[in-house]
């Protein structure tokens, strides 16, 4: 991957706003830890969108005002949150049944790698001395009708995180619907990876070179 690095990229806020645009009113959504959390900031306040947190709530509201944190009301990242009127609490078996049963419309997740066939790797670097931890990652990867991934297109070393086959241990197979990167928005389709958006100033040819996998335009 020695293609020249693009000069323009989507900012993290632009990426989050782009994901938010794809979430219609009435959707049930789980936003993973990290970058996906930012999507919440871009969901229009006048739109009823239902946020699920796998530790046991639906109808999650924004962070509480300082001094109003409740240690019993946290999200999956263990940050203090609030509950909207109309929200509900439930236990872990019910919460993960809600995901596994396909009731959520969207999960938005971070990733180390996504393969051309939609395999996701986001839980384990594969490093020999790493202590493994999975949490809800594997459930989230299967836990919605559509799974969106948000990630930088390239590693710090300039390698594509969109790959022919994951080299990191996978989280789930064939689960990703759409990939949002700082360079492009790409659908995973039965016919292969299909580019939906591309950042200004980057040509299709350059994107293919940077990605190292076949892309349809």
């Amino acid at each position: 991957m020695n293609a020249p690095l693009p000069t323009q990229r989507y900012t993290r806020d632009q990426m989050a706003a782009r994901v938010a645009r794809d979430i219609p009113e009435g959707a049930y959504v789980n936003l993973g830890i990290g970058l996906p959390t930012m999507v919440a900031n871009h969901l229009p306040a006048d739109r009823d969108i239902f946020l699920h947190s796998e530790n046991g709530l639906l109808g999650m509201g924004p962070a509480p005002a300082p001094g109003h944190e409740d240690p019993d009301l946290i999200n999956a990242g263990k940050q203090p949150v609030t509950l909207l009127p109309g929200g509900a609490y439930f236990h872990q078996a019910d919460s993960f049944g809600m995901m596994r049963g396909g009731h959520l419309d969207f999960c938005v997740l971070g990733a180390f790698q996504v393969s051309a066939s939609g395999d996701l790797a986001n839980w384990h670097t594969g490093a020999k001395d790493a202590i493994p931890a999975v949490g809800g990652a594997m459930d989230l990867a299967l836990g919605a009708k559509k799974v969106f991934v948000m990630m930088e297109h390239l590693t710090k070393q300039g390698e594509s995180k969109i790959v022919a086959r994951c080299t990191y241990p996978v989280t789930a197979l064939g689960c990703v619907s759409r990939i949002y990167t700082d360079l492009a928005v790409i659908d995973v389709t039965p016919a292969g990876l299909a580019v939906v958006d591309i950042v200004d100033g980057l040509s299709p040819t350059q994107l293919v070179e940077l990605s190292g996998v076949p892309l349809h335009f």
């Binding site: 796998e54 872990q92 596994r100 999975v134 949490g135 990652a137 789930a172 197979l173």
Partner: protein, 232 residues
């Protein structure tokens, strides 16, 4: 008259033997029965298998229990955290066994134990390192892994209020693993903020019916704020 209340945390954890499998509720600090864990540390049982979502944070609670080196094995979904240094050191030294389970499979395996299910096919984990060596099956065009129940000898859970029959209600997201762990253990011990008179809990809103609870102790300890970290 049946009265499951006991006066102290020490009394509540009495009789947990060496070698026991003990489930401990909580996700981070929410729902973590800290006073019961401290009592278990004081009680001295060793060679324990612990089931929890995490593997301890900082130097308190479950982390402090691990530090005593009385835990032989931990079954959890998310051991590695910013402040899981006690577990990390034990694990790297080979002094604790880890069974890593995806969080939803952990919950469903605990629920299956409580509900008398012998095993179940779950899609979660299929094709991953965590399903290696496990039985798999294609059902209606989807791939599944066979998972077995996790039973426990004891469960330590934290609820908000309870009564002398052992009925429990939880508070907000502190509910998490409490209800399913209460159903999966031979002896469930609940730490609550307040014990209320029989009939004071709304029968439509009782989350854990008393049948799942053997001992209940009221302890006013507040929940510390969790330290935000990675998922799980």
């Amino acid at each position: 008259m049946i009265d499951k209340t006991v006066a102290t945390a020490a009394e509540a954890v009495a009789g947990i033997p060496d070698g026991a499998t003990v489930m401990i509720g909580g996700f981070g600090t929410a729902g973590m029965p800290s006073a019961l864990i401290d009592a278990l540390i004081a009680q001295g049982a060793r060679d324990l298998t612990i089931v929890n979502n995490n593997a301890g944070n900082g130097e308190i609670g479950l982390a402090a229990l691990l530090k005593t080196k009385r835990v032989r094995k931990i079954i959890c979904s998310f051991p590695r955290q910013v402040d899981s240094q006690i577990f990390d050191a034990l694990y790297r030294a080979g002094e604790i066994e880890l069974e890593l389970v995806p969080q939803g499979n952990l919950a469903e395996r605990i629920r299956a134990a409580g509900a008398g299910i012998g095993a179940f096919f779950t899609p979660t984990g299929f094709g991953t390192l965590l399903a290696e060596g496990k039985e798999t099956r294609m059902i209606d065009g989807r791939q599944y892994v066979l998972e077995y129940p996790i039973h426990a000898d004891f469960a330590l859970v934290r609820a908000d209020r309870g009564d002398r029959w052992g009925n429990l209600v939880y508070r907000k997201t502190a509910r998490n693993f409490g209800p399913i762990m209460a159903s999966a253990a031979t002896t469930t011990i609940a730490q609550v903020r307040e014990i209320v008179p029989l009939g004071a809990l709304d029968p439509e809103a009782i989350v854990t019916p008393g049948i799942f609870v053997k001992r209940i102790v009221a302890l006013a300890a507040p929940t510390p704020m969790a330290r935000p970290g990675a998922a799980g």
